[in-house]
Symmetry: C2
Subunit: 358 residues, 2 copies
DNA sequence: ATTATTTACGTGTGCGCACACGAAATTAGA
DNA sequence: TCTAATTTCGTGTGCGCACACGTAAATAAT
């Protein structure tokens, strides 16, 4: 009653295991009639290959490329995807899968081009990629898929570029949730700032969607008549941010600030130095500088993109596609995690465990 | 340069693979001196068995028992652990692991005793167990571990009972977080209700801890001078709940309600029928009845225990212990998920995907 | 019709390990 | 000292599959 094997199929079809093997692997050298007959039996008995035995026999090893920005310091944002990759790797280690990392400066398109220039996609069986620069990323993806190498994206997506899978977050909805967290308990008829602290104009897509989502919340809740004011501060050092904010604080009656990316800690610092603890502050991502202000209660909520989980799932999907030859969903949108001072430790501890288990 | 194999060790030690095999499996029939010699080599070269080949050769199959309460309707709380078990199973299916479910009426200790009486732990290689009735559960666990069967608990833990692993949540901290969510934006000097709607007094442990956590938040934030009033309503049908709440609403100036378990939807119904949308309501668990009120904004926040993830991790740990013979952490406390109207869909969708992929 | 070429298929080996069986070495028994 | 019992070890086989190789059958070339 156990599972049907190649040899069983061979016997039923009155051929040898070699012929069945050829059919299973779409190799030629099989007469059409025979092929049909065998395929029918495979179908009928719902043959499921024993991938354990397959892996052992083939002795194949796999090579994946994980392409994402540099980890700028030991605990920055891009450390988490790496942890996720390692976690996935630990689970599938028996399959002899090796991973190369290709890291690049997330602020330099030139660096990205230089680094990817040295890559031949054909050296890899699959690629997990966090696209930062839309146009050149699209080209890179095109090269890979042109060479027949599966490509799975995470963190952000590029419109109109065909890929094998995407793992990420619904940016609009996360902004919408930001609106709710902000609004919750805030007096109406006060002013709210939406602060964009992006360093590059390149990958603005999900930043814009976050702002739209945030605004949309207040449009849908007309009882909240808060006044929403956008502030764009490029450049990025603290003094610029402080100056710009100071201006707004004198003009307006600021009751809350929504920062559309992980640089929310700069705003938190401003509030801390100003002693404005009462101002609601909501931003993105679990990075150490922000955690500090979350714990000191200058930041009220952080919305997490679960970068660890994104990369974990990404590598698992590559594995499913490449090794198990299974279909994977075109897109997976992860839950939008809400982090506060009170639950942050569990997210951190979780990651620590993975680090220890290396 | 590839991994060292049994045959390599055998050659180095000047013995046959059979002898190495005996050492590896702690079988007798090996002279002490030889054993030492081989063990030293194993150590020195850090031999890691190829579990792929091992699984293939041994042809072993494994049997796990998953023991938890009945799924009372198609979408109730206990459906989620089942989904988690299935997800884990899908990932490790190549190892021929079968799972039996033992379900019992979570309100009847007699039923639990009856069901477990028919179980011989020795029929199983591992047990994943959600203990509900402390005393008899402890006995059951004792039987299993006495028979040498690893036992991993999830959902709740029993003090003083030795187990092989626990997957769950920090109840105190989740209550503390509930306090924050409640407090956030609520006017001080109003009254808050803490409502206990437990059906059985048996497994009160984490209910009590949740209340303690909640109260602790307000103790630590002395600027919040809200008045906390506990309400215990046993029994459980809606009318009782409505009557008791009505009493409190006339006595007090209720601005928020914290419900310590998943029956928060009963309170939400009361608020809905009363038209009291302004009252903040925080409770537990993603069950359909609550989701409805979450979407209608009578419930502001649900704290999720991630039951799907708990069971998923539980089975994965059993697998690690039993099949891979690896050590597993004594306890894993999962992140405390915050669910709102705005992010609930992603948690639901995620589960849907698993359902579809069956 | 005979040979060369192509197409279609069968056979054999090994991946790394687990385990049954049997053989050799050692010790005990007489 | 010789045999029997026991301990210690080696050998062989197979798990299900992938893949190289070899061979038979069909077709083409001469």
């Amino acid at each position: 009653m156990s599972r049907i094997r190649i040899i069983d199929i061979a016997r039923i079809a009155n051929v040898s295991t070699g012929t069945v093997d050829r059919v299973l692997h779409n190799r030629d050298g099989v007469r059409e009639a025979t092929r049909k007959r065998i395929e029918k039996i495979i179908e009928e008995y719902d043959y499921q290959p024993d991938i354990i035995a397959g892996a052992l026999a083939s002795g194949r090893s796999y090579r994946m490329l994980v392409c994402m920005p540099d980890i700028v310091n030991a605990h920055a944002f891009w450390k988490f995807p790496e942890l996720g990759v390692k976690r996935a790797l630990a689970e599938i280690q028996h399959f002899d899968i090796r991973v190369d990392y290709l890291r690049f400066d997330q602020h330099s398109k030139e660096d990205f081009l230089k680094k990817t220039a040295g890559i031949d996609p054909k050296d890899y069986d699959g690629i997990l990629f966090a696209p930062v620069f839309s146009d050149v990323s699209a080209e890179f993806i095109g090269n890979c898929r042109g060479a027949g190498v599966p490509c799975i994206l995470f963190n952000s997506r590029i419109e109109g570029v065909e890929i094998d899978g995407f793992i990420g977050q619904d940016a609009f909805q996360s902004g919408f949730l930001g609106g709710k967290l902000m609004s919750y308990g805030l007096p109406p008829e006060k002013d709210l700032l939406i602060v964009n602290l992006s360093l590059r104009k390149d990958n603005y897509q999900h930043i814009i969607k976050r702002e739209r989502g945030f605004r949309s919340y207040f449009e849908e809740h007309s009882d909240r008549v808060n006044n929403l004011v956008s502030v764009n501060i490029n450049g990025g050092e603290y003094n610029r941010v402080a100056t710009e904010l100071e201006k707004k604080f004198t003009e307006l009656n600021v009751a809350g600030i929504f920062v559309t990316n992980s640089r929310v800690h700069l705003v938190a610092r401003y509030l801390a130095e100003r002693g404005s603890m009462y101002v609601r502050l909501v931003g993105y991502d679990l990075i150490p500088k922000s955690i500090e202000y979350l714990q000191r209660e200058y930041i009220d909520f952080l919305i997490s993109q679960s970068p660890e989980e994104q990369a974990y799932l990404g590598l698992r999907q590559l594995f499913s596609m490449v090794v198990l030859k299974k279909q994977v969903p075109a897109a997976v949108l992860l839950p939008i995690d809400i982090l506060t001072k009170e639950n942050i430790n569990y997210y951190l501890k979780f990651n620590k465990e993975y680090e220890q288990s290396e």
